[in-house]
């Protein structure tokens, strides 16, 4: 679908070399640190920007040359778009419904997004979450075959995010393909069939969330030892490959049945452990690993 995409703004290279292909009916995630080129990539796909080189093909059409045809079946939710301040929610959705050949029922759509009760509110009086839901409604009302959603759940509260996720899964059940740009790892992990991590305008990795998470390396065991231990002692425990410390917590990363191995090895030297917590490497960990170059930031600061 996207082949060696490159986009340059003057001297700034936004996208250096991005290639991927999205299959019909999947939820495809694009993740990456801020400024990695995610938005530019999807804007080229939706025809809003023209690539400097490379090619994009959507159902055999070019987003630039066949833009008119593509608009009918590609629904777009853009980052940072405001509606006219005095436009009412219901009016906006009905207006967009009128633009498409076979739209969804606007009332039902508003209902499913939980904004039916505010359909008479004007845009400038909406909360951030309500604006976001309206934006989603506008992207979906045309019954798109492909929905491109950019930073969809930014600014939503946790409950609204979960509801939005259900909605995206609903879109896919309806047969549509979803391209989801996000910087929330839990969102990508939960929703995406496959995802690509873009860093510095290039694809760093492209695989299923599970496979990418596995790149973060086996298991992580975090615990509080009963006395100070040096790295050497910890690395001698069978299976441990890496040690991280944060305050009184020690985290060892490695393979095999790590928790058991840690407890028995430490018991032998008379150290007991408390607050033990073991988990598989997550997408978050992989993200940190793959973008570890000092320039990138993780948006969710749970794991450093």
């Amino acid at each position: 679908m996207v082949d060696h995409l490159r986009k340059q703004y003057g001297n700034t290279l936004a996208v250096a070399d991005v290639s991927f292909s999205v299959s019909e009916g999947e939820i495809f995630g694009i993740i990456g640190p801020n400024g990695a080129g995610k938005t530019t990539t999807v804007e080229c796909i939706s025809g809003l920007r023209t690539p400097s080189s490379g090619s994009i093909s959507v159902y055999g059409l070019s987003p630039q040359k066949d833009r008119g045809k593509m608009r009918e079946f590609v629904g777009v939710q853009l980052q940072e778009t405001a509606l006219p301040p005095r436009l009412k929610v219901g009016e906006a959705v009905n207006l967009f419904a009128s633009f498409y050949a076979r739209p969804l029922n606007p009332d039902e759509l508003l209902e499913s997004l939980g904004i039916r009760q505010i359909e008479d509110s004007i845009y400038k009086n909406l909360s951030g979450g309500q604006k976001q839901r309206l934006s989603i409604a506008l992207a979906l009302v045309g019954r798109p075959k492909i929905a491109i959603l950019d930073e969809l759940t930014t600014g939503l509260d946790p409950e609204a995010r979960r509801e939005t996720w259900d909605l995206i899964e609903g879109i896919r059940r309806g047969g549509a393909t979803v391209i989801l740009v996000t910087h929330f790892m839990d969102e990508a992990e939960r929703l995406c069939d496959r995802l690509t991590l873009i860093n510095h305008g290039a694809v760093a990795v492209l695989d299923t969330p599970e496979a990418i998470a596995a790149m973060a390396g086996g298991t992580r065991v975090r615990f509080v030892p009963s006395r100070q231990l040096d790295d050497k002692t910890l690395l001698e425990i069978p299976g441990v490959t890496q040690v991280e410390r944060k305050e009184r917590y020690v985290t060892v990363i490695g393979n095999g049945d790590l928790a058991l191995s840690v407890m028995s090895s430490l018991a032998k030297i008379g150290v007991s452990v408390s607050e033990l917590e073991a988990r598989k490497g997550s997408l978050d960990d992989a993200f940190v690993e793959l973008t570890k170059d000092g320039q990138s930031k993780v948006s969710r600061g749970t794991q450093k």
């Binding site: 809003l48 008119g68 590609v74 853009l78 778009t81 405001a82 633009f99 050949a101 008479d120």
Partner: protein
Amino acid sequence: MTSEKGVSRGRGRRGPFSELLRVEGKLALRAPYGLGLGIIFPTVLLSVFGLIGSAVPGNVANTGFTILELYIPIIIVIEFFGVALTALPIPLVRDRESGWLRRVSTTPVGPSRVLAAQMVLNLAFALAGIVIVLIGSVAVFGATLSVSIYFVFSTILALAEIFSLGLLIAAIAPTQTAQNAISGALFFAMLFLSGLWYPAAEASGPLQTIMYYSPGGAAVNAMLESAFGTGPPLSAVATMVVYAIVFAAVAIRYFRWE
């Protein structure tokens, strides 16, 4: 949930453009510009100059026109400026700055329809204003004017020239703040050059020449001579045509959707 909503929805689906026109129309009525400058402003001005005209009958100085006659085209032209320099560019610049036009450009309809809807609406406001001024001046203040083919012709040229200027502002103003400043300054200049304080017909020398060759003064001159004289002076017609072409060309050259 009012019952009125249930009726207006769903049945007999409207085409995209009529739906857009309806929504843009509602938005225009929720903002003060179109109604205020297109309808209330000329009504107030007509009342003021109509009353002054009845208090001071007879021709003004050496112009050959009464006060009311002098001011009818002035009121119409500045009403056009009011609509074209504010009500027209304000939503366009705002919706471009907010990314709304860009958002619309991803739908099958495209942002040019938004522009078309704005043109239709604001021309309707401008025409409502001219109807109010013409009917009011004849019915209430007893003006005797002829809506000749010349008058219609001059009006169309004036609209073309003045609306092109409005689109020019929408095209070159980078932000809403800039647009406000440009519109405000230009509107004030056009009020003067159209003769709101001092009609061009009363002026003389270089001032009169400047006024006659300004966008507003040329329109006022053409409409005045069409309504109460024999027809528009060729110089006024030529002036309006040149302005219309220049404004429209620059507007088209610099207009951006995002």
